[in-house]
Subunit: 350 residues, 2 copies
Amino acid sequence: YKIALLPGDGIGPEIVPQAVRVLKAVGQRFDREFQCETALIGGAAYDATGHPLPEETLRLCQASDAIILGAVGGPKWDNLEPHLRPERGALLPLRKQLGLYANLRPATVNFALADASPLKYDLVAGLDILIIRELTGGLYFGEKRREDLPGGGQKAVETLEYSTEEVERVVRLAFTMAQKRGKKLTSVDKANVLESSRLWREVVEELAKEYPDVELNHMLVDNCAMQLVRHPKQFDVMVTENMFGDILTDLASQLTGSIGMLPSASIGGQVALYEPIHGSAPDIAGKNIANPIATILSVAMMLRISFQLEEEAAAIERAVDSVLQQGYRTGDIMQPGKIRLGTVEMTDAI
Amino acid sequence: YKIALLPGDGIGPEIVPQAVRVLKAVGQRFDREFQCETALIGGAAYDATGHPLPEETLRLCQASDAIILGAVGGPKWDNLEPHLRPERGALLPLRKQLGLYANLRPATVNFALADASPLKYDLVAGLDILIIRELTGGLYFGEKRREDLPGGGQKAVETLEYSTEEVERVVRLAFTMAQKRGKKLTSVDKANVLESSRLWREVVEELAKEYPDVELNHMLVDNCAMQLVRHPKQFDVMVTENMFGDILTDLASQLTGSIGMLPSASIGGQVALYEPIHGSAPDIAGKNIANPIATILSVAMMLRISFQLEEEAAAIERAVDSVLQQGYRTGDIMQPGKIRLGTVEMTDAI
Ligand SMILES: CC(C)[C@H](C(=O)O)[C@@H](O)C(=O)O
Ligand SMILES: CC(C)[C@H](C(=O)O)[C@@H](O)C(=O)O
């Protein structure tokens, strides 16, 4: 298996190598060969080459079987032109060019860590939801322009567009995922206001006929934000468009209280991309205190989704569980009476 | 003072009359005269006249000094054509026609009720934030269309538009409100992706120069959803565009755990509109169990904002506090050991 490693910025270059150590351990134990090659992305790429997504990086990704990304961005690059910034100049084009139309974000709460949630224990202990966000359409990639107005001032205009096909492929994926999990799918839209949401809902209704074993319901995005806080365990799989998904996935991950634990996958094209959901955290970079678990669990997602190596994926997940049960913690998930480990030492334990 | 009453649907016709009783009591005690006239809106208006926002209702609103709305909508009208539905056919046109460009939504948590929040007690007890949502622009009112695609399927296209002036007036209001409160303003946008957000941010930066006493910060909407859950008390006044505001205001109100307590104001035009933030709750309509407090507190907002009757407004708020302190509760905020009251009896107590 050929894997492209894109460590990126901040803590990225610390956590990605740790995830690779876990991957190598899995390779040894299960007799698999993983070939990793590293490329630049984000601020690090900008500093070295003048662009946050060098051609070479894109080519390496396209020639690989999967991609592991650390994180991009940091205050150092915040004042560049938008198209040179790590987020706009690297992340979004990477998603688009690789056709990664579905972002899978599990929000799960280990019983041992449920205390860390801002929500009351019972509301989140054992939480296990999967949000699927459309990732290459909508406002993110619509036409954008600025106009000067005759009376002074300006006008910004941008377009939110979705086609039947764009909705269909991501919703179909969501139905399939729901079938493999709790057989419940919540489609989130704003059909009482948006035309794109009405198209979205029609497509969902049409596809639902092919998945009679999945219990479907529609929820308005404003209500959904409330329900996620009020009673998150009511959900199993959720699916929504790009901008709503951006907001709801971050909201859901914050509910868990341990963002340093959450992996993600972006799929849909030839090659899929796996990354922790947390950011580049420049403030703690280089101190060996970042939590490597989200990236390590992203490796598990990669093994399961891109390579169908279920046993190998489960081995990583069990190792993480067991280490937590033995009381090991990084600083971000530290609790009284537990044993604090650094980035490298946590990976040793896993 | 001439006041238009629009009870609407569901529990609307139960709670609005209770709010009027409180208003009359204030009138007697402070020697003010409030003339109330009632008109139809929403499903009730559709049933009676064939349209959810009759001309007559709009005219009454325009001829009044303030409007008190109950709530609109219900399953009975969910399958009408969009433009005849209570939300799309009445609420949105009413906002637009009356020029109500700013929606003010306080999210406050009375110490006595903080236990009801899904969040841990310390995170919310004493919470007092004010979210200001732009209410007549953005995706809500942009052009919308549907196209058939040559290869089959369709495309939905809609426009998100903001002008300098539209941003300026609501942001100016937010700065003014922040000056009167904790002098902190958080402007929420998605400037790393949207052109309209970049315009938004530029206008905010420009206006900030006129309000040097207000501490301003910008926050991305995805991060904001997280911060609201992680540490809501970090906020004082927040301001954001229409769609983000729709999601964030509902999220914030759910954090309080007592939506039946939260009022709102929509201002900007000749006449302002006041309403509880909760919906029409058709399932509990007609049972004398709805919580009238959100509507009663909306009356207090009206007295303060539209009529500058600060003392009168404060009297209502004190009455509500005192009744809660004496242990009276409606069903939705009931706690062990407290005294449960119906809609009318709660109003009697206040
Ligand atoms: C950095 C930003 C452009 C990006 C997004 O909005 O998609 C991020 O928030 C994410 O969710 O991956
Ligand atoms: C009913 C709906 C159109 C409305 C909105 O989205 O503005 C509601 O959610 C609100 O927040 O007042």
